[in-house]
Amino acid sequence: MDELLHALRIKGRATTDELAAALDTAPQEVEAGLRALEADGLAIERATGRRPGWMISPAGRDAHAEQASTHVTAEVRAEILQHYKRFLKVNDPVKEVCTIWQTTSDEERRLDLLAELRALHDQASPVVASTGEAIPRFARYGDRLTAALERAAGDPRYVVSPLVDSYHTVWFECHEDFLVTLGRNRHDEGSW
């Protein structure tokens, strides 16, 4: 499976730097990869607009769907499903902490919320790590979640801001990756 195409599918729209951070690769390498995808008609660059960056093309989406449907075996998918069910148990509490964080500016309350997020992270980490043993790219979500949590203590944007690799940004991508890997959609399970 093309990891760059997959990252673009998960993020929807992203800059070269954001993709490089997500893939833990040099931006130059990502840039070359994006140009190759563009030449194949699988990615489109939007240099203008409110959020310039790269997006997957409709042909890229089809190519990705085909790759995604064949790159894991039924056995691996069954195992991932078990991890995903554990992930979902933490999903609602994480979204709740993010929501309350956004709607309060009380410093003490926010310290409590960060502590809650750390406790939830401790529950989620083994799940994401186990998933990473079956599908290595999931391990990167674990690393990015840990990094976001560490930065959040000094920079509040790293809790929920979609403009940085915040805890919620990475969590959302990880959730999306579970859905793509399992061939599910949020509507099936009422998980938005």
Binding site: G12, R13, A14, K95
Partner: protein, 243 residues
């Protein structure tokens, strides 16, 4: 008769869904018909080379061909499509869940109100043009062509995830699902895009129609769970002069 060591065999337990129950009943009825026709009195009469008399491949094909129609007649709806392609390839069998969302009786709302929803945060009211985002292809088109100014995105199932990257390009959003604690609501708050979640409508909103949404209403409490409104919901009306 010897009792099954695991207690009640699986086939005696109630089915989880209507379609499963319906399919099982249809198969059982067909087997009974075939048994009657074969004049068999016991299972042993039909074992050996006569087992196909109980349920043939043709029986299976016939039931599979009719069960969708029976489900539609008895449930009053088509199957929910789990993916876009199901509905595209077999529209006679599948529908999108969102298309079947029950509309709310207009009498439940104040005069002129066509819907309401949980406000994600208090902003200014927005008047704009509806764009119903339902399929991946529509999101792709919006991403490549850009979102027209003054667009209020009406998002149902497929949209929730897909529209996140273009969320800041909308003037406002009406989401037919989720809650004020959903991913979409979290991202909308960060981008400052006025958004209603879990919208209820008296009729489906159509792409191109102009509406005014009362985003100046108080934000729905984040403590509110599904079906429980702690704060009055924000109202949706046809734009003035467009009614």
């Amino acid at each position: 008769m010897t009792r099954h060591p695991l207690g009640r065999p699986k086939w005696t337990l109630p089915e989880a869904g209507t379609s499963a129950a319906m399919t099982r009943a249809a198969v059982m009825a067909r087997v009974q018909e075939n048994l009657d026709r074969a004049g068999a009195r016991s299972w042993a009469d039909l074992t050996g080379d006569r087992w196909r008399d109980v349920l043939s491949a043709q029986d299976g094909a016939e039931l599979a061909a009719t069960i969708f129609e029976r489900f539609r007649l008895e449930e009053g709806r088509k199957y929910f499509a789990g993916c876009e392609v199901a509905q595209r390839e077999a529209p006679e069998r599948y529908t999108l869940r969102s298309e079947l969302q029950l509309s709310v009786e207009p009498s439940q709302f104040a005069p002129g109100v066509i819907g309401d929803g949980d406000n994600v945060f208090a902003a200014d009211d927005v008047t704009g043009t509806v764009f119903v985002v339902r399929e991946v292809s529509e999101v792709d088109r919006l991403m490549s062509d850009g979102v027209p100014e003054g667009t209020i995105a009406v998002i149902d199932d497929a949209g929730g995830t897909l529209t996140a990257p273009i969320l800041p390009d909308f003037d406002a959003v009406v989401c037919l699902a989720g809650s004020v604690r959903s991913h979409l609501a979290i991202i909308a708050r960060e981008f400052g895009v006025p958004t209603l979640m879990a919208a209820r409508l008296t009729r489906p909103l159509e792409t191109g129609e102009r509406i005014t949404v009362a985003y100046s209403a108080a934000a729905q409490s984040v403590e509110a769970y599904f079906g429980e409104d702690l704060v009055a919901r924000a109202e949706i009306r046809p734009a003035a002069g467009d009614a």
